[in-house]
């Protein structure tokens, strides 16, 4: 399939225009001086200034980052463990239930996950706050981590670990010195995925957050429900820039390391 025709070129152009134009418009209008979002009134960075002075947004951003770092880190550990169980542990009692519980949260509507966790926390009399959001986010993102990591573990050459064991490593040493460095890229992408999912989540956080633990999406939601807001445009622009820089640099790093690995393999071959 190697044909660049006018049809392919147009469909790519229109398709990517559709994907990116709304965000580009949002970014352009975040520099609008006027209070009316849809009417251009000259260039200004006024809304960025107002945003950075808005304590409520800064507090919400801090809560969100805290929740995202904690939940994605715990989820990475638990998800990697779950992946090891799924790929390596063979048969054990309750395996079907286990793999079911790993895959079900991936397709569970967020409203149901949120509702069920809220009812659990209320039943156990746990005060809702940062802790409950972290527990909720960890639970669904560990499943994503385990899917990412287990797809890497499937193709992992087990003889490498056996060699380490033969050479006198303990099981733990073999895992941390041999297996983990090799599956590290998958573990890191799992962490990044968990981190983004947590940053992004509105529905589950709304159910599990308490009054003192408003996250950024909850704060954004309560402002945009009332209509367009120039401050939210500025905030969106900042978030889009961070993500873009992050994704592009991550892909450049992974490209560099794969080129380096190819070079190493070639050097080792000669």
């Amino acid at each position: 399939m190697r044909r660049v025709t006018w049809f392919n070129a147009t469909s790519l152009t229109l398709g990517f225009a559709f994907l990116y134009l709304p965000m580009v418009i949002l970014i352009i209008y975040s520099f609008n001086a006027g209070k009316l979002v849809t009417v251009w009134a000259g260039f200004s960075t006024r809304w960025y200034g107002e945003l950075l002075q808005n304590q409520a947004f800064l507090d919400a951003a801090w809560v969100t980052v805290k929740v995202a770092v904690l939940s994605s880190s715990i989820a990475t550990v638990l998800g990697t463990m779950a992946a090891l169980v799924l790929v390596r542990s063979g048969r054990f009692a309750g395996r079907t239930l286990f793999s079911g519980m790993i895959y079900a949260p991936l397709v569970m509507p967020e409203v149901i996950t949120g509702l069920s966790l809220l009812l659990l926390f209320i039943g156990l009399n746990i005060d809702r706050g940062v802790l409950t959001i972290v527990l909720a986010h960890t639970t669904f993102s560990m499943c994503y981590v385990s899917v990412v990591v287990s797809s890497r573990l499937v193709s992992f050459d087990q003889s490498l670990e056996e060699a380490a064991l033969d050479l006198g490593c303990s099981q733990m040493q073999a895992f941390f010195l041999v297996t983990l460095p090799i599956i590290a890229p998958a573990v890191i992408s799992g962490w990044l995925l968990a981190f983004t999912l947590s940053l992004d989540d509105l529905v589950i956080a709304s159910f599990t957050a308490g009054p003192s633990s408003t996250t950024l999406p909850i704060k954004i939601w309560s402002s945009i429900r009332l209509g367009l807001s120039p401050e939210i445009n500025a905030l969106s622009t900042l978030m889009i820039s961070v993500v873009t820089v992050g994704v592009i640099s991550a892909s450049l790093i992974s490209k560099r390391s794969s080129l380096k690995r190819q070079a190493d393999e070639r050097a080792a071959g000669t």
């Binding site: 399939m1 049809f7 392919n8 070129a9 469909s11 398709g15 559709f18 990116y20 709304p22 965000m23 418009i25 949002l26 849809t38 638990l78 998800g79 463990m81 779950a82 090891l84 169980v85 542990s89 054990f92 309750g94 239930l97 286990f98 519980m101 790993i102 079900a104 949260p105 397709v107 569970m108 509507p109 967020e110 409203v111 149901i112 509702l115 069920s116 009812l119 659990l120 039943g123 527990l135 909720a136 639970t139 099981q171 733990m172 940053l199 992004d200 529905v203 954004i220 945009i224 429900r225 367009l228 939210i232 969106s236 978030m239 889009i240 993500v243 873009t244 994704v247 592009i248 892909s251």
Partner: protein
């Protein structure tokens, strides 16, 4: 011993924070609404021993589910969610296919960049991507400004707060989920098959229908499920872009819980929603399984 810990830790985490909460939802859906804290009866009283547990089970019934069938808001919401998800999935397919096709036909050195361009929006906040359409589609929005200044319309179109806006929002946010599996299927295709078809006298279009399209079928099916399943329970898009007439079950559940504070009915809504979702999920799993067997 070590293996036991490895299994036990994630296992118990999921039991405690996924399965048990779901059983609680199931239980509350069979309870009655009450003016109490928590706002439902019965509550399980272990101190009364075996008798308490028996009394607890005796009081559970299907009243809330009966209520869901009597008030037509609910079944209309389920039907309308299914309809919106179905139409939106079809629209997403129509938009995604040419893009995936274009990507698969692009020169090799473009592909990593094109892939990244498709994945990038997925990493950006879902909420922001939906919000970006509010400014475009509102009555004073950019689309209406453009169409008015071009003289194509004489008064602004009402798009925001209608089902059309919901469709646009779904197509926009779920597009990468449809593009990627179709692209993966098309990319694996052998170009010589098309050449053979054309040598044998097919026109380009017939060759597409007879060769390319059937070969991308698995990608299409996977993409459709990946869009259809999460769309049914969608909350953000209908609340932000849809109007008061847009009925979707995720929104109904949210309002039942947060506005009406009726926990038993909200739980019953959740249980039925899950029952509806089981069918497409099982079909999707089967399809994936079949594909893996065909490849492996």
């Amino acid at each position: 011993m070590r293996r036991l810990i490895l299994i036990a830790v994630p296992y118990f985490w999921l039991l405690a924070l996924f399965l048990v909460p779901f059983l609680i939802v199931l239980k509350i859906s069979l309870s009655d609404t009450a003016l109490a804290i928590p706002p439902y009866t019965p509550t399980l009283d272990f101190s009364a021993g075996w008798e308490g547990i028996r009394a607890f089970f005796a009081e559970l019934d299907f009243e809330n589910f009966e209520f869901l069938t009597t008030d037509d808001l609910y079944w209309k919401a389920y039907l309308s969610s299914l309809k919106i998800a179905f139409v939106a999935t079809f629209l997403t397919l129509i938009v995604a296919y040419p893009i995936a096709y274009g990507m698969a036909s692009a020169p090799d050195h473009w592909r990593p960049t094109l892939m990244m361009l498709v994945i990038l929006p997925f990493w950006t906040s879902f909420l922001i991507r939906v919000y970006s359409w509010v400014g475009i589609l509102s009555n004073e929005g950019y689309l209406n400004q453009l169409l008015l200044s071009l003289g194509l319309i004489s008064e602004p179109l009402t798009i925001l707060n209608t089902n059309i806006a919901v469709y646009i929002g779904i197509v926009y946010t779920y597009l990468p989920f449809m593009i990627l599996p179709i692209y993966a299927a098309l990319e694996r295709m052998d170009a010589s098959l098309l050449e053979a078809a054309e040598d044998l006298g097919c026109s380009r279009l017939t060759a597409f229908w007879l060769v390319t399209f059937p070969l991308s079928k698995n990608g299409i099916i996977a993409g459709c499920f990946l869009v259809f399943i999460p769309t049914i329970g969608e909350f953000v898009i209908p609340s932000l872009l849809g109007g008061s007439k847009t009925l979707m079950i995720g929104k109904v559940l949210w309002e039942e819980f947060f506005n009406n504070r009726d926990w038993p009915v909200a739980s019953a809504v959740a249980v039925i929603l899950l029952l509806i979702l089981i069918i497409p999920i099982v079909l999707f799993q089967r399809n994936e399984q079949k594909q893996r067997e065909a490849e492996g």
